[in-house]
């Protein structure tokens, strides 16, 4: 397999990013656009109009067979057995220790076929994890490198996509998934995303990626659609308090302390369930809390202090362009995670005041 090749991979949209003047950075083994026009402008475009994302680095596993649903129901923390055809659900791949291997979305494509979208940095690890636990009547196919993913997100996304698709995307429910044509290309279209806005994720073969990208960019021009890099993707997801694997969650973290108990269906059997149920019963020692920092931007790895003592650490932090505050997520002892608690973040040796606030930091208007 070429998965561990030392050279940087490029998505099928690499030339498009170059034409659009993107600044490229290495990310999960890919050369990815971090920004085009600028993070703040791109962030605001998604909140106000629409933004187009190349997420082709993400991994796509396909599981097919009569036992596919049951296998995934054991592998993933959430209720996969309860998914109807055409529905998707967020959940966690967990291990026997009850910690988080990855966070994924499972899409039920047909009676017997499911797609699992995994984080790019975890493709090889997740593949091994799933293959080791696969039932004999399930066929596994890792199509990560042949599949492109274009996301369109924002309040105008639905009308832009509708103009380029033969499917009734207006009628597609949140977390719904359907087969459709987009710009003439065969696509799997899902009403999912990672921005806190309404929007869609469009899976196509790599060969069709440029066609779909160009069509949506052109069709959305009047509505103000912009290409969006990973920089704004991060500020958007953090305002909406979506976890970032490798920052907020990893194999040292359990779902309860991460605030992801809602993704764990504890009345079914899944990997690590007993450990997670026990943690929930005894209550987590630490919790992932939302912070607003007054004076300075908290970053991943910064210490959280109280009266000069280190009590926790920041897992994600940025300036939130919509909330116009410096926001962060940090693991702190449970008693200190109460709303309104005043802590501090140690930024360049100085303890800067930070208040525990309710999350998400941003919720889109109804």
């Amino acid at each position: 397999m070429a998965a561990e090749a030392p050279t940087m991979r490029r998505t099928p949209l690499y030339e498009k990013h170059a034409e659009l003047g993107a600044k490229m950075v290495p990310f999960a083994g890919y050369e990815m656009p971090i920004q085009y026009e600028g993070i703040v402008a791109e962030h605001r475009a998604v909140r106000g109009q629409a933004g187009l994302f190349d997420l082709s680095h993400m991994g796509e596993f396909f599981l097919k067979g009569r036992g596919a649903g049951a296998t995934l129901d054991r592998l993933v923390s959430s209720d996969i057995a309860g998914l109807a055809v055409g529905q998707a659900r967020y959940g966690l791949l967990t291990n026997e220790r009850g910690t988080i291997v990855d966070d994924v979305i499972v899409y039920r494509i047909s009676e017997v076929e499911y797609m699992v979208v995994v984080n790019a940095a975890n493709i090889a690890k997740d593949r091994a994890h799933v293959l080791a636990r696969l039932a004999e009547d399930v066929a596994f196919d890792d199509r990560s490198y042949g599949t492109a993913l274009v996301a369109i997100q924002g309040p105008r996304a639905v009308e832009i996509l509708a103009s380029q698709s033969d499917a009734d995307v207006q009628a597609l429910a949140s977390f719904g998934v359907t087969q459709a044509r987009v710009a003439g290309a065969r696509a799997t279209v899902a009403r999912t995303g990672y921005t806190g806005e309404d929007g869609f994720e469009i899976f196509v073969t790599s060969a069709d990626a440029a066609k779909v990208w160009d069509a949506l960019l052109a069709a959305g021009r009047a509505a103000g659609v912009k290409p969006i890099g990973l920089g704004a993707r991060d500020t958007l997801r953090l305002e909406a308090r979506f976890s970032l694997y490798g920052n907020d969650i990893d194999e040292t973290i359990d779902p309860i302390e991460a605030g992801l108990a809602w993704t764990c269906k504890l009345d079914k059997d899944f990997t690590g369930r007993d450990v997670i149920a026990a943690k929930k019963a005894e209550g987590p020692k630490r919790k992932l809390a939302g912070l607003v920092v007054q004076g300075g931007v908290a970053r991943h790895g910064h210490e959280v202090t109280q009266n000069g003592d280190v009590v926790g650490h920041v897992t994600s932090g940025t300036y939130g362009p919509t909330v116009e505050k410096n926001i962060a997520l940090a693991y702190v002892p449970t008693p200190l995670s109460k709303l309104g608690t005043v802590l501090a973040v140690r930024i360049r040796g100085k303890d800067v005041p930070a208040t525990v606030v309710k999350t998400p930091f941003y919720r889109r208007p109804e």
């Binding site: 600028g38 993070i39 920089g231 300036y319």
Partner: protein, 134 residues
């Protein structure tokens, strides 16, 4: 091409100096703000503080990352730009104007000779931009 005004002196760390008698004004260059992206926070020394040539005097934070600002010359801070602390985006919109950082009373005029001329700075960022593979 980045804007490099002819009436300023420059440091390799992308600060500029406007000499005006004993007191000089310091800011970061157009090139620097382009590299940083959207500036969202600026930390500057208080009036009366002392800065040392080529040592950190403060920090600019963009959405992406924090970067030190290095003092291009030594001296005492006589003023800091309160406006840029309140509106950090001025660093992006007017790096040579309202986005200035501090004014410093020169401790040693000879230090100015160690800074780059506009032409030297242009070739310096030419190299930097080339190496960055833009």
């Amino acid at each position: 091409m980045s804007n490099v005004p002819d009436d300023l002196k420059y440091s390799k760390e992308h600060e500029w100096v406007r000499a005006d008698g004993d007191v000089v004004t310091i800011g970061i260059t157009q090139f620097a703000q382009e590299q940083l992206g959207d500036v969202v926070f600026v930390e500057l020394p208080e009036k009366g503080a002392t800065v040392r040539q080529f040592s950190s005097l403060g920090v600019v934070e963009s959405v992406k990352a924090a970067s030190d600002i290095y003092a291009p010359i030594s001296g005492e801070v006589v003023e800091r730009n309160v406006k840029v602390i309140e509106k950090p985006e001025l660093v992006n919109s007017a790096p040579y104007g309202d986005g200035w950082m501090i004014r410093v009373r020169l401790a040693d005029k000879a230090e100015l000779a160690q800074l780059l001329s506009p032409d030297d700075y242009r070739s310096h960022i030419g190299e930097t931009a080339g190496a960055g593979g833009d």
